[in-house]
């Protein structure tokens, strides 16, 4: 339940509101930088949240996500280069509007649609997450084991790339999680006499290396982007325009809701789906691709809705369904919080703070979205070599602050290499991160259950929640296997057909 007195106390006694606004500003600026996705913008900030109060840190990270979704549309509209993946659909009509001298209007539509999408997403987050919290009381160690297995199997099978690669990435993540003392007997594993490894590997190190550093490595030597010379001002849509955008915004909101709830979904899929649907349902579909305001409104509403609705599976079950929520999960873990059923029971203040902080960021987006445009344009125009240098400096300095350890800085470099190789070979990141995050929970709940039953595995069959979750995992893997085999068969058949024709 939303507790107004808790929200009032948090607002007056913590730095929650300033944190929401700082996170929002950081998110808009980071999102505006092409190549720096929302998850990377969040990962760069992650080490800095280490010393903050839990609620302040979580609010700041969630606000970064909200800001980055709008920020991504700025270069998409102005220089035809999406700042984030989810802004790719905005390029189509946003840049056309800019070419027609309507850049200010396009940015205004993006900002207004993003505001509405975020508000709708927050409303869904509050109404849908709360009822799931009652599950907290029914969860036993066996249920947590089932939950961990379900999370891993769902993400591995639904992430981009094949099922096998997703599963392999998840296993590597679990392997990383086995480093350090084992959860039952406290025996050191894979520490090789290195004292820094005794406590295990912080998921945040893996996230920063895999998301942020590997992106710098992949982008190394990339050509300069086009620069922007003219001065542009955001123009919020008139009442008439707002009315004409209602349909496309409604479509964006619904697509954003469903994609946010879907594991492996996310802002980019929601944006493209809603763009297509908005065109299909539009009274003037012929304008799409030629500078249609609806073509900007639909994807921007969708990706901003996703920024909130993607938190529903994270908060309810502790399962991040996108890279950005995986980083947010890292923020929770840094402060010893594990999202999932028990979070509502033990840390209701964090949940309430997150709701209110998100609202502050969403409202603030309307103001800062306008004020920060010159700063975003200035940032986008900076030479890439200097941007890379400063981002690398930020990564290495930020990681050092976690534990004042140069070993950890070196470890992040190694994770950067891992991330680079995974990108090159087409392995998805999310299962790896989830393996690192859930590894401890999966192993400890499994072994604790066996200790309780005296080594009897039938204990898992005596818990209906665990049985349900494990069966669901099996179904997901079986479905993905069937999908992979069907796709392979189809492509083989298509290849044979081509050979016959030639």
């Amino acid at each position: 339940m939303i507790d107004l007195s808790t929200i009032w106390t948090l607002s007056t006694t913590t730095w929650m509101i300033p944190a929401a606004l700082i996170g929002l500003v950081w998110g808009i600026l980071g999102g505006a930088l092409p190549g720096i996705s929302a998850s990377i913008t969040m990962a760069l900030l992650l080490p800095f949240t280490y010393t903050m109060e839990p609620v302040v840190a979580i609010v700041m990270l969630a606000s970064v996500y909200i800001g980055a979704e709008y920020g991504g549309s700025i270069p998409a509209i102005l220089i035809r280069t999406p700042g984030t993946n989810s802004a790719a659909a905005t390029v189509i009509d946003g840049y056309e509007m800019k070419r027609q001298g309507k850049a200010g209007e396009a940015l205004g539509i993006s900002l207004w649609s993003g505001f509405l999408g975020s508000l709708f997403g927050l409303l869904m987050l509050v109404t849908m997450t709360e009822p799931l919290s009652w599950l907290a009381l029914s969860f036993k160690p066996t249920s947590y084991f089932g939950l961990g297995v379900l999370g891993l199997s769902v993400i591995a099978s639904m992430s981009s790339g094949s099922l096998v690669k997703g599963l392999a990435a998840a296993v590597v993540g679990l392997m990383i999680a086995t480093v350090g003392a084992d959860p039952i007997a406290g025996i050191n594993r894979f520490t090789f006499g290195v004292p820094e490894l005794l406590g295990g590997i912080e998921p945040v190190l893996v996230m920063v290396g895999v998301f942020a550093l590997s992106e710098l490595m992949v982008q190394s030597g990339a050509p300069e982007l086009s620069t922007l010379k003219e001065k542009i001002r955001v123009r919020l849509p008139s009442w008439e325009t707002m009315k004409s955008l209602k349909r496309s915004q409604a479509i964006g909101s619904i697509m954003g809701l469903f994609e946010g709830l879907t594991p492996g979904g996310g802002g980019s899929i929601a944006a493209f789906l809603s763009y297509n649907e908005a065109r299909r349902w539009s009274k003037r579909p012929e304008l799409f691709g030629k500078g249609s305001p609806e073509g900007v409104a639909a994807p921007e509403t969708a990706n901003n809705t996703v920024a909130s609705t993607t938190l529903i599976p994270l908060l309810s079950f502790g399962i991040p369904s996108s890279n950005s929520t995986a980083v947010l999960l890292g923020g929770f873990l840094i402060h010893g919080l594990l999202p999932g059923p028990r979070l509502f029971e033990h840390n209701a203040d964090v949940i309430n703070g997150l709701y209110f902080g998100s609202l502050v960021a969403i409202v603030g987006q309307l103001v800062f979205g306008i004020l920060l445009l010159p700063a975003c344009v200035w940032l986008v125009n900076r030479p890439r070599p200097f941007l890379s240098a400063y981002i690398m400096a930020l990564i290495l300095s930020g990681v050092y602050t976690l534990d004042h350890s140069l070993f950890q800085v070196g470890f992040v470099l190694a994770m950067g290499l891992l991330g680079y190789l995974m990108r090159r070979c087409g392995f998805p990141f999310l299962p790896l991160i989830l393996g690192v995050v859930l590894g401890h929970m999966v192993e400890s709940s499994y072994r604790r259950s066996l200790v309780l039953s005296g080594g009897d595995h039938t204990i898992f069959l005596q818990d209906p929640i665990a049985v349900g979750l494990l069966l669901a995992s099996l179904c997901f893997i079986a479905f993905s296997l069937w999908r992979d085999l069907r796709d392979a068969r189809k492509s083989r058949a298509a290849g044979q057909l081509e050979e016959t024709h030639s």
């Binding site: 790339g161 679990l174 406290g186 190394s220 240098a389």
Partner: protein, 160 residues
């Protein structure tokens, strides 16, 4: 060789090293039935199976006229079009390693300034006054931000 074969072989090598390391985990009197070695063993076997599937799939793709070589999703998750070759990406990583090595000698402000200058040069910045200016500005900015504003000390060296 396609990406699946490379990925599969790298995973197999990593898995062999991991499996060898599981043998070094001591057995304790406090262990439960599954034991500290239990999960690592299961994971090593699982990864071996998955790596073999990926490798064989890559080999089959190579045989099938090479058209479909590379498997699915060889573009990174974040969808960037540009993909630096391994040598170039490793160069960036080596600069990071160099930063760790020189830090205990030159200290944080100078170390971070050197890092910024080196990366800017490596990434192709024009060799003019902007590089030292950006490096000095960055050194001061980061030092102020971490040591003064946030109060989290960065390493000091022999020089600073």
């Amino acid at each position: 060789m396609n990406n699946d074969v490379v990925g599969g072989v790298v995973l197999l090598v990593f898995d062999a090293a991991y499996f060898w390391s599981t043998q070094q985990i001591p057995v304790s009197m406090l262990d439960d039935a599954f034991g500290a070695r239990g999960l690592p063993h299961v994971l090593a076997v699982l990864l071996a199976v998955l790596a073999l599937i990926i490798t064989f799939r890559g080999i089959r793709a190579l045989r099938n006229a090479g058209a479909a070589a590379g498997g699915e999703g060889s573009v990174g998750e974040d969808g960037a079009d540009h993909e630096a070759p391994l040598g170039r990406a490793l160069g960036l990583l080596l600069i990071g390693v160099g930063y760790i090595l020189v830090l205990p000698v030159v200290g944080y402000p100078l170390g971070i300034a050197l890092l910024i200058a080196t990366i800017a040069l490596y990434e192709g910045a024009a060799r003019n006054w902007r590089i030292p200016a950006a490096a000095i500005f960055g050194g001061v900015l980061f030092w102020l931000m971490f040591n003064v504003l946030l109060g989290v000390g960065q390493p000091s060296g022999w020089l600073f």
